[in-house]
């Protein structure tokens, strides 16, 4: 069950700087650990995060094993037009999660 928490303002004035926050549930297993019987635990992390604003990419991050579980991203953008902000997380073992939020710009 991959769940995400998204915080995007519902309304903004044209030209405003808006803050976007995302939090996703993921174990972020580093691949450097071993089980109690010495078997290596395979890496299982999110490797990329992309945010698009009306299909235009506005933020991208590449994630590495040192990043803690349940990665949290906070970034800003400028409210240019009403529309949809989409988020995509991709990772090991075919992990794919998406979320979206709509914004009205006045």
């Amino acid at each position: 069950m991959a769940s995400a928490l998204i915080n995007v303002p519902k309304k903004a004035k044209l030209g405003d700087v808006i803050e976007i926050k995302t939090l996703i549930s993921h174990i972020m297993e580093t691949g450097f650990r071993h089980s109690t019987t010495g078997v290596p635990i395979p890496r299982d992390i999110i490797t990329s995060f992309v945010c698009t604003y009306n299909n235009e990419e506005i933020f991208r991050a590449v994630l590495y094993p040192a990043i803690a579980a349940n990665p949290f991203f906070m970034f800003t953008t400028i409210a240019t037009e009403s529309g949809t902000i989409k988020f995509t997380w991709q990772g090991d073992n075919g992990f794919l999660a998406t979320a979206s939020a709509s914004i009205t710009v006045e």
Partner: protein
């Protein structure tokens, strides 16, 4: 070592439980009511901000899953929690603040996790969730969150008295290779440092909570097992009666403090 006299401690307990109170004296080792504070007060500003913002608090991921479980039909009875309890936002307010509570059928107190599993067994005819499973933590976090801001109000039930006493006894009993009691750190030396870490007063205000060290949500019993292992004593099994007594005493000790579930701690 300071050992609280049981009679002295029992005076306020008797008031609480509705017995004839002889005199109100607080036990010597116990923290005065006015000086008690949640571990939240000692958090770093970043951690406080994380707990305060529901979109930054990772515990909310568990709450979100718990809400889905609340509404999901389960077991042979094909019934969801919501089918009996309706909207948790109104029906579950204050519930987590009064557990552990006495179960007359079992003749002993049970904590919220055990209550959830009893409901599953009796009403939903579904298998119990394992301790520390994602499901049980999610559901208890979701139910706990409905009591956020509510003061901890242990039940005034006379039948709880022996268990409360047992909890107090455990709290003040020296144990393990280090020969320490819970009270030696959390009553006598709170606010000081143990290695680099601040010793909190150990009030269970925000469980189940997100611990940065765990990178996950965990129950009060998980935390207690950590503490017991730290004293180099053998931890009780999950769900042990000793744990429920200790939880009962800790909730009584934290009476009046607001619930913070899901809290964030380092």
């Amino acid at each position: 070592m300071r050992v609280p006299k049981r009679t002295q401690w029992l005076a306020p307990a008797a008031m609480l439980l509705g017995f004839a109170a002889v005199e109100v004296v607080s036990a010597p080792a116990e923290i005065p009511l006015g000086e008690r504070r949640s571990g939240y007060a000692d958090l770093a500003p970043d951690t406080k901000a994380m707990q305060d913002d529901d979109t930054a608090n990772p515990g909310m991921l568990w709450v979100q899953d718990g809400e889905a479980l609340w509404n999901a039909k389960s077991g042979a009875a094909n019934r969801a929690c919501a089918d009996c309890h309706n909207d948790a936002r109104t029906t579950m307010t204050g519930v987590a603040a009064r557990y552990p509570a006495f179960d007359s059928k079992l003749g002993r107190p049970i904590d919220l996790e055990q209550r959830i599993n009893l409901c599953r067994a009796e009403r939903q005819q579904a298998p119990a969730f394992a301790y520390e499973s994602k499901e049980l933590l999610s559901l208890s976090a979701f139910i706990g969150k409905q009591s956020r801001g509510e003061p901890i109000t242990p039940p005034t039930d006379e039948r709880l008295r022996p268990f409360l006493e047992a909890g107090l006894e455990q709290f003040n009993r020296r144990q393990g290779q280090l020969n320490l009691s819970c009270g030696q750190c959390h009553n006598d030396n709170w606010g000081k440092r143990l290695a680099g870490s601040l010793i909190p007063q150990a009030h269970p205000t925000g469980y189940p909570l997100y611990r940065l060290e765990w990178q996950a949500v965990g129950s009060l019993q998980r935390r207690l097992r950590n503490c017991i292992a730290g004293m180099r004593a053998e931890p009780y099994d999950y769900g042990a009666r000793e744990f429920v007594s200790l939880e009962l005493y800790l909730m009584w000790r934290a009476r009046g403090l607001p619930i913070e579930t899901p809290a964030v701690r380092p």
